[in-house]
Symmetry: C2
Subunit: 315 residues, 2 copies
């Protein structure tokens, strides 16, 4: 099958072996998959991953009870039996593999396998292009899963990339006093069209937010996020990137801020939000490529100003 | 009056002007004051403070309605009118001064002034030596104020200095599954005598704690604290110190940990715990000096292995 493989270098492999689903797993024929910033970090060395890239997809189940169903899939395959899983923290299972990120081939290929229990049927009202946003939208829903966002809170989303735009839209629905801070008027326009206040100049609003969500994808975003927070505020860290950052600790203690790391999220609420058309993902698709042009698609995705690039497996 | 003053160098000033209480403040004759690790950081440059050091004290009110009362005092003088104060976060008032730490002369002198509303009467059952622990014990109580510690939680206190010993004793009272990690068998013995499990070797218990309280006072403590946490666990940062620390961000996001900064705490519960003899502070007094020997007292306090050094103002 065709697959986009990273083995130290990104390449299209036209003869990658089609996977066989082990017991408990399903074979899924991929219809469409998105390129995520995490994929761009992986080809810079993040996670030390080797194999088929991609973890945002929609596809058709080829076997088992769900055969023929159009599905999306949670990306962490967990054992379900360890103490972490039994506590309910299955996305943190120490024995997990993660689609296209850790010890498991990903979705930028004609076929993938995932445990059947990871798959969710896609409502008819949700298009393929929309469904491929379920995974990053779930990651945005992880914010409200992890942190109690009050409708009275003053909330800032810092960063107008793909994840920032999704986080801002999810938080907007809480009724909170939201401001999105970014650098790109065209990207912020997607939020403005939904009635979300935006700014490109955060200098005058430091120290005023109950919650700041850091989605810049850059280590330097942390310090600005911290400065935007009020004392005892909560800084939600969404960005994953390769490398470390020099950080002064004293202000965290003196201002008694909380920092909450947030990663993969719940799929069911993300699918509900898409089905009810409460999140605009259509405006976020910048380009679409056939998998045969997948390397070019990655180059496009890494271009400043681009939002989501999606890859289709056949015409 | 006698005062221990830091003006780039620590010195005893025998002719420091006795303060006059402005409107709303009380003059307090200091009986006894403790030296805190923060004081040792200040004379290394932390906070850029100049003036009379010290913020842990017990004294007698010399004027006003509380005249003659034996009191301890909350160290942050706040305006009470700004939005931060009206939200209840008075210890974060942007216009605050802080006793012996920021824009306000401290307690290592014969007299100090504080707003009358900052003072708390000391119960008769609490000795002067014990009462001078109210401020750091309140800082330990700030952990349970800021973070919900469940009696089922597995909790680690990292660091067996003065603050670590107080934090461990407060957390022990929640009924949680507590382990204190330190480097000094003699200091940990204070906890062992209260029935608190201790260890000097945390290597085999990484990844197992719901909550880790970082009290090492060293930047390097953060990384060990993080490694001791389970995914989605909570790291409470108590240490304040001069300087920054290189920190990898990805593990915070991947493991979805929470980091909670914690500083000054509530005095009323600290006084209740002392009155009911639920916390052993007597074992933590390593030495006592007259203020005339205050510089020597600071040298002693900075000696490895020392716990609390207290200073009395007269014999």
């Amino acid at each position: 099958m065709n697959a986009l493989v990273f083995d130290g270098k990104l390449k299209l492999d036209r003869d990658y072996p089609t996977p066989h689903a082990p017991a408990g797993e399903s074979l899924v024929r991929v219809l469409r998959a998105g390129i995520c910033s995490t994929d761009l970090e992986i080809i810079k060395g993040y996670m030390g991953f080797r194999g088929v890239l991609g973890h945002e997809f929609v596809g058709i189940v080829e076997d088992g009870e769900m055969r023929g169903a159009r599905v999306v899939g949670e990306i962490n395959a967990y054992d379900g039996t360890c103490s972490t899983c039994r506590r309910g923290d299955v996305t943190h299972c120490p024995n997990r593999s993660t689609l296209g990120i850790m010890n498991r081939d990903g979705a930028l290929a004609e076929y993938l396998t995932l445990p059947a229990r990871n798959l969710h049927r896609v409502p008819d009202a949700v298009s393929d292009a929309q469904a491929a946003f379920t995974e990053p939208l779930a990651a945005a829903c992880e914010i409200t899963y992890r942190v109690h966002i009050r409708p009275t809170d003053r909330v800032c989303v810092l960063g107008d990339g793909k994840l920032g735009l999704l986080c801002a839209q999810v938080l907007h629905l809480t009724g909170c006093d939201l401001l999105a801070v970014g650098r790109h008027a065209d990207k912020l326009m997607i939020l403005k069209m939904r009635g979300i206040p935006t700014t490109t100049d955060p200098d005058s609003i430091r120290g005023t937010f109950d919650v700041v969500v850091e989605c810049t994808g850059q280590a330097s975003g942390f310090e600005l996020a911290r400065q935007l927070l009020r004392p005892r505020g909560t800084l939600v860290l969404k960005s994953t990137f390769h490398g470390a950052q020099e950080m002064p600790f004293a202000p965290i203690v003196i201002d008694e801020i909380s920092i909450v790391g947030s990663r993969c999220g719940p799929f069911a609420p993300a699918l509900r939000l898409l089905e009810k058309n409460l999140i605009d993902v259509d405006s976020m698709v910048s380009a679409e490529y056939l998998i045969a042009r997948g390397v070019e698609a990655f180059q496009a995705a890494a271009t400043p100003g681009m939002l989501k690039v999606q890859i289709t497996m056949s015409q």
